[in-house]
């Protein structure tokens, strides 16, 4: 049978450096094809060539057996090939309905008709998104839903999903995979890029693995297991390092001194009467569905958002009541929040690694302390931290936007650590990060706890929460509802507590 899309000996080089070398890939009709590999393996480059975002240096692409070469994404879409990007391409100031019909407007649009059609369409896909809502007000998961709905509405025959589940909760993931199966039934072929290997194993028909710009293997998903994929991806097995507590750490750490005590914290309907304690020298894992108030609680603690003015509860840091109106004083008191949205809130993408780290120190120092900065000091700081965190970059003057996801995340972590935290809150520290970098980040988080720092890790990935944490707090409806020790925690128990 002729493949729907075939890439033959495709090479793509940037300034002579190959990002893809001689890759041959095919997508069959009615197939879900998992594409996996470390950051920088060439997955995005390959798929971008398929949808006309970039052109191949050499090699051919065939659609329905006929050679094609798309110059723009619009041209690819006319041929039924589209891509849902990790960073959504929606217009934030427009409504959901307007985004769905963007580029497909008639001369005289009847807005009410668009909204009704959008509502019907979203309902048919079981997406609970308000078509009247402005996109900027939506969370990452709902933006993703709108992006998927737009691709489906445009009658695409091939949809490429780039890390579609990175920002989804387990429940939303369940809906997403049901949708993917429905699309398949409707005759849509899917390329599915994911760092979550279980998802690829479970939902893909075939899997292709890229490493350093080369295709390592393509085979039926049933012929793979987790270890085999990781071996192919990184050339060694990391399973034990990542998600096997006994192999790495053994018994959970004992609690040290009480660092943070949160009592009856409230913020509108999002955080409601929330109480918990954080101890030094321990990793406290936090799990909850999106909207359960875990990120908002972390942001209140670190002064990014404010709790209720009346009866907002109490936060004590080392026994002293604190109420931050802006993040700066919290940073100076030793609280650091590592954001879940690194691209928007984590770094200045056009600035270098060194400049970003220097910005981190500015927040921790008193005003005026760094009026004059020596560039040699900045460089020395950057060199030290890039080495400590194994940030792979040409040098410390490399712009952060040029780094892979894992290395960007390391820069965000380094930017927080230069602030000398006593309490560090990681919000989704390994989202959109490849397995190699995940292992390094986990090791680093463990090292921080071993050094006596109070560490909080908020994660939507249950194996990560279970295996990294010394104690696990579960959020539901704006508050901590359960606490588990790693020994008694199972994915089922945690999920049950988070949902019921």
């Amino acid at each position: 049978m002729t493949p729907l899309i075939e890439m033959r000996n495709v090479t793509k080089a940037y300034r002579g450096v190959p990002a893809l070398s001689n890759v041959t890939f095919d997508l069959r009709l009615n197939e879900i094809h998992g594409l996996v590999g470390e950051n920088g393996a060439g997955k995005s480059t390959l798929t971008k060539i398929m949808v006309g975002v970039t052109e191949a240096t050499s090699g051919n692409m065939l659609l329905d057996g006929k050679p094609v070469s798309f110059k723009t994404p619009a041209e690819a879409l006319r041929h039924g090939v589209t891509m849902v990007f990790q960073e959504t391409s929606l217009v934030p100031s427009m409504t959901v309905a307007q985004n769905l019909y963007l580029g497909d407007e008639k001369l005289f649009n009847r807005l009410r008709g668009i909204y009704i059609a959008a509502q019907t369409f979203l309902n048919s896909m079981n997406f609970s998104v308000d078509p009247w809502a402005t996109v900027s007000t939506l969370g990452a998961a709902k933006k993703q839903m709108v992006e998927i709905a737009r691709a489906v509405r445009q009658n695409a025959r091939v949809i490429i999903f780039d890390e579609p589940t990175a920002s989804l909760t387990p429940e939303e993931k369940y809906y997403f995979f049901s949708l993917m199966k429905n699309l398949k039934k409707r005759g849509v072929s899917i390329v599915f890029i994911s760092h979550a290997l279980e998802e690829a194993l479970q939902h893909a028909d075939r899997i292709s693995i890229l490493r350093d710009g080369e295709l390592v293997v393509t085979d039926n998903a049933s012929n793979f297991d987790r270890d085999k994929i990781i071996r192919a991806m990184v050339g060694r097995t990391l399973s034990n390092e990542l998600y096997n507590r006994k192999a790495t750490e053994g018994a959970p750490r004992r609690a040290g001194a009480k660092v943070l005590s949160v009592k009856n914290l409230s913020m509108g309907k999002i955080v409601r009467n929330n109480s918990f304690t954080i101890y030094a020298g321990q990793i406290t894992g936090v799990f909850g569905l999106i909207g359960s108030g875990r990120t908002e609680t972390a942001k209140i603690i670190s002064g990014i958002v404010k709790r209720d003015f009346f009866y907002g509860g109490e936060v004590r840091l080392f026994g002293k009541p604190v109420r931050y109106r802006v993040p700066r004083p919290s940073v100076r008191d030793g609280i650091v929040y590592v954001t879940e949205d690194r691209k928007l809130e984590g770094f200045f993408e056009t600035m270098s690694i060194a400049e970003n780290l220097q910005v981190g120190t500015l927040a921790a120092d008193s005003i005026g302390a760094n009026m004059v900065v020596r560039m040699s000091q900045v460089q020395e700081l950057a060199t030290r931290w890039t080495k400590a965190l194994n940030v792979r970059a040409i040098n410390s003057n490399a712009r952060v936007i040029e780094l892979s996801g894992g290395n960007q995340q390391k820069v965000v972590i380094a930017k927080s650590l230069v602030q000398k935290p006593k309490l560090i809150i990681f919000d989704e520290p390994t989202r959109g990060v490849d397995v190699g970098a995940i292992a390094e980040i986990h090791q680093f988080i463990n090292r921080l706890a071993d050094e006596g720092i109070a560490v909080v890790v908020i994660s939507s990935y249950l194996p990560e929460v279970i295996n990294l944490s010394d104690r696990i707090l579960v959020y539901r409806a704006g508050r901590v509802v359960e606490e588990f020790s790693p020994a008694e925690a199972t994915e089922e128990r945690i999920m049950y507590a988070a949902v019921h």
Binding site: A255, K258, Y279, Y311, L473, V480, H500
Partner: protein, 366 residues
């Protein structure tokens, strides 16, 4: 002036002292059923003040002093009976026993000062001896919980908002004493962790403090209950916590007019206040109704009684705890010791002496 304004503003917005918050029971205080599943060593009415001198385990029940005989069939042997209820006890390895009487005064039994009675210290009557501890065979540390109420009136003292307690070092022979600290809010437990150090459990302020130079330095604050006696353990200390804190009680403590009227007009059994025992009467406030969540019975209203022992390390940081929860009956743990390879605790509310055997994986403490 600024402080008064700040307090008024706090009352207006419900922040600071007016936040009416209580610490969560998580981390080392994570609830479990270890007291509910512990073995019942002995059934006896309102046991209190358990002590161990290395040979004998002694405890009190109302006005009687008992020795606990541990064997296949544990029993209590009555050693002495007093005219008034016994409020505190300590035993010295040399054989001396110090007993605080609820009516006031301290009496010594056995040892060099057998029969010695101390009723005053530096001209002040010894009232409300909530805890006693031998520093050596001739010196005692005494916690006087209150100048206004006797030990049986502890709920009244809490609701009155008293802080008239004090801690004294007493020379048994001469009867002379030194006040180590005063204006304490119901000092209810004392321990000497090292030569020259004194640590006190201050119940109404929910903290352990170390006394130095007449002042208290908090070692463990914001305890989620009212602390009682402290005892040494293999690798740290054991702290008995006799009742839980609840937002309801904290709220009532902030409402003087309501509180005074309640104390004037309502039978003390039905006051909104912590209690040593489980609800036994339908007229008790807000104890009925519960939901079951993850197999746990969670009451609608905060429980007034609870059973809790905390294991502390040498830095007085909690590392483990043993609970009897809202649906349990082994409440009101007033004292505990480590003996016979396990923890022996008096559940005054549950009329039991409990034997808790920590799981091996929980480590050597306690």
């Amino acid at each position: 002036m600024i402080g008064a304004l700040s307090r008024a503003f706090d009352r207006f917005r419900g922040s600071g002292d007016a936040a009416v918050t209580i610490p969560s029971m998580d981390g080392a205080f994570r609830p479990n059923h270890k007291l509910d599943t512990a073995s019942a060593v002995l059934e006896i009415a309102a046991p209190d003040n358990i002590g161990y001198d290395g040979r004998r385990i002694l405890f009190t029940s109302d006005s009687a002093l008992f020795e606990l005989k541990l064997s296949t069939d544990p029993a209590a042997e009555r050693i002495a009976e007093y005219e008034h209820p016994l409020a505190s006890l300590d035993v010295h390895p040399g054989g001396a026993i110090a007993l605080g009487l609820a009516s006031g005064g301290i009496t010594l039994r056995g040892g060099d000062h057998d029969g010695r009675r101390l009723d005053t210290v530096e001209g002040r009557p010894i009232l409300c001896p909530t805890a006693v501890r031998f520093i050596d065979a001739g010196t005692l540390l005494v916690c006087l919980g209150s100048q206004r109420n006797d030990p049986t009136q502890w709920t009244r003292d809490l609701l009155d908002g008293n802080s008239s307690g004090s801690v004294w070092r007493l020379d048994i022979k001469s009867g002379k004493g030194t006040c180590l600290a005063d204006r304490l809010a119901w000092p209810n437990g004392v321990i000497v962790p090292a030569q020259g150090r004194v640590v006190i459990a201050e119940a109404w302020r929910h903290q352990l403090i170390e006394l130095a130079g007449g002042r208290g330095r908090p070692l463990l604050s914001d305890i989620p209950g009212y602390p009682a006696r402290i005892a040494p353990a293999t690798n740290g200390y054991l702290l008995a916590i006799f009742a839980p804190r609840s937002q309801l009680v904290e709220f009532v403590l902030r409402e003087p007019r309501f509180r005074q009227r309640m104390m004037r007009e309502v039978d003390p059994r039905f006051w909104v206040a912590p209690s040593l025992h489980h609800a036994l009467d339908y007229r008790e406030p807000l104890q009925s109704g519960a939901i079951k969540q993850l197999g746990e019975l969670k009451p609608w209203a905060p429980s007034r009684s609870y059973g809790l022992i905390a294991g502390l390390d040498y830095g007085f940081d909690p590392i483990i705890s043993f609970h009897s929860r809202a649906d349990g009956k082994r409440h009101g743990i007033t004292s505990c010791i480590e003996a016979d390879g396990r923890i022996l605790a008096t559940s005054k509310g549950g009329n039991l002496i409990l034997g808790v055997e920590p799981a091996r994986e929980e480590g050597p403490v306690p």
